[in-house]
């Protein structure tokens, strides 16, 4: 197919390399260096989508990041991506894209009926309509809105692409490579500063690519190319294209999204699709340029209505004509460059200028080229449905209120320019204030809050000469402060055309009796009438008007619409624009893909995985693993066809009958050392620690200051001034921080040091009636008899040449020991235990059996110490010293903590002795009680008691102390279960604790 709108010679695309692509299933050709937008326009395609609310036809409006219309669904390398702006997507061989928000096709879209119903879809339609009846919400309204919402569809497949994060530091970060960016980067780099220069587009140079200027007798583009080449060769400079700085955060941290391979058919191996840069800069130069704003007129959203600057860019960069019968509609001089460019390419534009007259240099040039210029003229309404076919134009009165001599003229595009809006997003995100600059009818940055400066047209400076001068000066000045160097550059000679003043005119009035839709926000279909309605209905704050009408809330965030919205509100309210103010600029400046935000932290990389030294053994022996915090722990060791229930039951039974071994390496371990260690522990734990002898362990409970149990564990006195503290797996890090807090800030006079030793020790719990016999064989030289190593005793011993620590502690209620060796010897220890354990019918057991054993003996763990319970609640009140003070003690005097019917730990058994009670079930008196049924307590942990061979649970129950023997119901609406239960003691096994002492 011929590219009917491609110009023969001009443009920067590579005509040697033809690329084929598909749009809506149809095949087209473009060139390397095209965007999807420029290639489609070259092929005469102007209908790319449908609008959000009314499903009106959508074409192209801009040529870059500000594009509100041309959003497509992209297909690349077997993946699909929604919300891609065709004006930014570079063409590659085999690209496929489809229109969004239309069904069955972009040419015939059923949703377009909304366009004719639009009287029923005014601002706030959703708020007003979907209110009643309430029952309709889930069944009808919500699914309807969901279906109607959004542009395109997200892929449901796993994203195979690679995304990376990078952290970088620099002296000067420069956002935008237009004249101000290049000049400041060059001046700073030459003065020795470390510079990062970021350009959002593939090509560097910004406005220099399209403007008709000369710098040092070179064209703008040549000058830009030379500067970039020189910068790229400098070791202190990083130059990045396709890189958008989208967020300005605290303390001069900016985030940049680099589209590394989005412009290629697929990513190469080990090359990310996108890279997110977190950049900490000493100084930031915001040279983000400005965006042309539209003039509002009837049906100004018709495909073929484009920004004048975009039309020029399509010609000069891509060699593409947006139309062959153009109207240029402007209130200022800059659009004349577009008209002149058309003329140079043998196209005859008609210029409608809302100003009464102007005689600047560029207008003289246009006149001398024979361009038809009509002053005091405006476009009233565009005609044509899927593409502009003609428009009504009129003469406008001096006060801009009346239209005369309306007549229709043929055209195929309307290039509109309502002057320029500085891109102040980054400056505003930094926390700086903005001010309204009357001469340009727009906001510019006021005082900087962070270390940043805004230059060039982003700062409302529209002449090249002044831009280059201030930018060279600033680049030098900022770099000098950092590097102390003094190498300044000569400011180049500039020749440019002087512009005359623009006209403060932005909205064409409606002719009498006509109700044309005049759009402000093209993506969200917000028209002038919607804003008028919102204000009639009482919305005043611009933030409220925005949310009620959705003005500026689409994916383009109102880059082309916000200022006109403000003009309108200020007109209606009879205020000046700065009194209305603008809505808050928030990052990101452009949509950022979720993949880039997540980076490589996906799947198993989303958190660290910690493995015990015995992990490989577990793996080889059919362990099924479970995540325990960041640790991987064996949940059970599968034999044959066993499931979780059978295996864990077998393992737990074997502990009660013979002996089992469990990997307890994951327990938190903290070394507490120093002359005041005993005193410190005495303050940290609720029970007494001053008299614990060397070689003995003690179980301890620690509280937060509010009296809530923080953690529990055993701590052993290894030597006079050395204690070995254990914590639960989950709380290890918090406990260490807690101890450091008190040592460093509250009691710095205590001479104590704490350090985590979790990873230094591998641990194996050996539990069961045969454990002592096994231990004796493991440690033939050590006396492990009940007298030699009594309950809560500790001894250092020799395990076949390896130093080991033996603690006689029990988590299972059985006679049990915990053996620790240095981590490197963990596997050796484990294999010895397994090998020698064979004689005693030893089996390894996992966390599920571990839980079963602790639940049925009534030993509390994380599910009871859940951050809501005090010692009394969990039956730990016996460990609370009455004599000494400790962290959190004063809180225990609180009235609520001492109520007679205070909640307390109990055991729960189903009456039928068969039905397992789901964890989280609520205990209630009357299962048929009126809702909300008063909750008396909840099931914290459940197991199958291997001792009694029936289900058993622990619960925290109101007045639990006096409820033993009562009958209640456990209800779990989630599992749809109601179970009759009996409340029993939490000590379901060996209530006197004889076994552990045997």
């Amino acid at each position: 197919m011929r590219q009917n709108y491609r110009l023969d010679k001009i443009g920067l695309v590579n005509r040697e390399k033809k690329l084929s692509f598909k749009f809506n299933g149809k095949k087209y050709f473009g060139y390397e260096g095209d965007t999807l937008a420029s290639a489609l326009i070259a092929n005469g395609v102007h209908l790319v989508g449908r609008s959000f609310k009314y499903h009106r036809p959508r074409g192209f409006f801009g040529a870059g990041v500000d594009e509100p219309y041309a959003i497509v669904q992209l297909y690349r390398n077997g993946e699909t991506e929604p919300n891609v702006r065709a004006t930014e997507q570079e063409l590659f061989e085999g690209l496929e894209a489809k229109s969004v928000n239309c069904w069955p096709s972009v040419n015939f879209d059923i949703g377009a009926i909304n366009n004719f119903l639009n009287i029923f879809l005014p601002a706030g339609f959703y708020y007003k309509t979907f209110m009643w009846p309430r029952s309709f919400w889930y069944r009808i309204y919500e699914p309807f809105i969901r279906k109607a919402a959004g542009f395109g569809v997200a892929s449901k497949e796993h994203d195979k692409e690679r995304y990376e994060h990078k952290y970088e530091y620099c002296d000067l970060l420069i956002a935008g490579s237009g004249p101000s960016g290049l000049a400041s980067a060059y001046a700073a780099a030459k003065n020795g500063a470390r510079v990062i220069l970021a350009e959002d587009k593939p090509r560097f140079g910004g406005s220099l690519l399209t403007s008709d200027v000369s710098i040092n007798n070179q064209s703008g583009k040549e000058w830009a190319d030379n500067i970039i080449t020189e910068l790229k060769g400098m070791t202190n400079v990083t130059v990045k294209n396709r890189a958008q700085i989208f967020g300005y955060y605290d303390h001069n941290m900016l985030v940049m999204s680099e589209r590394v391979t989005d412009h290629l058919p697929k990513s190469e191996q080990f090359t990310p699709k996108q890279r997110l840069w977190y950049i900490r800069a000493k100084q930031v130069v915001i040279s983000s340029g400005s965006i042309e704003r539209p003039i509002v007129f009837g049906n100004n959203d018709t495909p073929g209505v484009v920004l004048a600057s975009a039309a020029k860019e399509y010609m000069k960069v891509y060699g593409v004509l947006v139309g062959k019968k153009p109207i240029v509609f402007t209130n200022n001089d800059s659009a004349y460059e577009t008209a002149i460019e058309f003329k140079k390419n043998n196209i005859n534009p008609i210029v409608l200028d809302s100003r009464q007259d102007s005689n600047s240099e560029i207008i003289k040039e246009a006149k001398s080229l024979g361009i038809d210029i009509k002053f005091s003229h405006v476009v009233v309404v565009a005609k044509g449905y899927k593409k502009v076919k003609s428009c009504d134009i009129a003469e406008i009165s001096e006060d801009k209120q009346n239209l005369n001599q309306i007549k229709n003229i043929e055209c195929d595009c309307i290039c509109v320019s309502g002057f320029w809006t500085p891109t102040i997003h980054l400056a505003s995100q930094s926390g700086g204030k903005t001010k309204f600059k009357e001469e340009i009818d727009a906001f510019v940055p006021d005082k900087s809050k962070q270390k940043e400066v805004t230059l060039g047209s982003a700062n409302g400076v529209f002449t090249l000469e002044e831009t280059l001068k201030t930018s060279f000066d600033k680049g030098f000045e900022l770099s000098k402060e950092i590097t102390n160097n003094n190498n300044s550059q000569q400011i180049p000679k500039v020749s440019e055309k002087k512009h005359s003043k623009h006209d403060k005119f932005w909205c064409v009035p409606l002719p009498k009796g006509k109700k044309y839709k005049r759009f402000l926000d093209f993506q969200n279909d917000v028209a002038v009438s919607d804003i008028e309605l919102a204000i009639r209905e009482g919305y005043r704050s611009i933030e409220h008007v925005k949310r009620y009408t959705t003005l500026g809330m689409a994916t383009d965030q109102g880059k082309t619409s916000n200022l006109n919205g403000l003009q309108l509100v200020s007109n209606i309210e009879n205020k000046v624009v700065p009194a209305v103010g603008h809505t808050t600029f928030r990052p990101p400046y452009t949509p950022i893909s979720i993949g880039a935000i997540v980076g490589r932290e996906i799947g198993k990389h989303s958190k660290p995985t910690r493995k015990s030294p015995m992990h490989n053994w577990h793996e080889k022996n059919n362990a099924v693993f479970v995540d325990a915090g960041v640790w991987l722990r064996p949940r059970y060791y599968k034999r044959g066809n066993e499931g979780l229930f059978e295996a864990s039951k077998r393992e737990a039974e074997n502990v009660r009958k013979n002996v089992g071994v469990c990997d307890v390496t994951t327990l938190g371990k903290i070394d507490v050392k120093g002359p005041d260690a005993a005193e410190f522990l005495n303050r940290v734990y609720t029970n007494a620690w001053l008299k614990l002898p060397v070689g003995k362990a003690r179980y301890g409970v620690m509280l937060r200051e509010d009296g809530i149990v923080m953690d529990d564990g055993t701590t052993t006195r290894i030597s006079e001034n050395h204690y070995h503290m254990t914590t639960t797996t989950a709380q290890a890090a918090n406990v260490l921080s807690h101890l450091e807090y008190y040592l460093q800030l509250v009691w710095p006079e205590l001479d104590v040091n704490v350090v985590s030793t979790t990873e230094q020790w591998a641990g194996a719990a050996i539990a069961g009636p045969k454990s002592r016999d096994l231990l004796q064989k493991l440690f033939p030289d050590t006396d492990v008899s009940n007298e030699g190593l009594p309950f809560m005793g500790f001894v250092e011993a020799n395990l076949f040449g390896v130093n080991a620590r033996i603690f006689r502690i029990s988590f299972s209620g059985e006679l049990a020991y915990e053996v620790n060796v240095e981590s490197d010897n963990g596997n050796f220890m484990w294999e010895k235990i397994i090998e020698i354990g064979k004689d005693f019918d030893l089996q390894p057991y996992g966390t599920e059996a571990l839980s079963t054993l602790r639940i049925e003996m009534g030993h509390v763990a994380g599910s009871e110490l859940d951050g809501r319970t005090i010692p009394y609640d969990t039956g730990l009140d016996g460990l609370v010293s009455k004599k000494k003070d400790f962290i959190g003690k004063r809180s225990l005097l609180k009235k609520a903590y001492n109520e007679k019917d205070r909640q307390r730990l109990v055991g729960v058994v189903p009456l039928d002795k068969k039905t397992s009670i789901p964890e989280g079930s609520h205990l209630v008196k009357d299962p048929k009680g009126k809702l909300p049924n008063p909750k008396l307590g909840h099931i914290s942990a459940s197991c199958w008691s291997v001792e009694h061979n029936n289900p058993f649970s622990l619960a925290i129950l109101k007045d639990g102390k006096n409820m033993i023997g009562s009958k209640l119901y456990a209800m779990s609406p989630l599992k749809n279960k109601t179970i009759a239960v009996e409340i029993v003691s939490s000590h379901y096994v060996d209530p006197k604790g004889e076994r552990v002492r045997s």
């Binding site: 955060y249 605290d250 941290m253 303050r683 921080s737 450091e740 710095p748 003070d885 609180k894």
Partner: protein, 89 residues
Amino acid sequence: MLYIKCPHCGLRSQNEFAYGGDASVKRPELNKEISDQEWDEFVYLRKSPRGKHLELWHHVSGCRQWIKVLRDTSTHEIFNTYKSEEKVG
């Protein structure tokens, strides 16, 4: 992300630190009889000032020292940082 100068390690990104709340809170002495109100003020009640705030940060992924940071809660400006034992003023 804040850039916090640890008095022991130098300038580090916020993600190395954990926030620790108001640094001016003083724990009542051990074994001292105090009223419910005094205790509640210590445990629960915190000012939430707009502006200058002396707060604790814990350099958890660094030197593991608790430090004091004088920060503006509305602008996030950090005026100074101190070692735990240093006098602020």
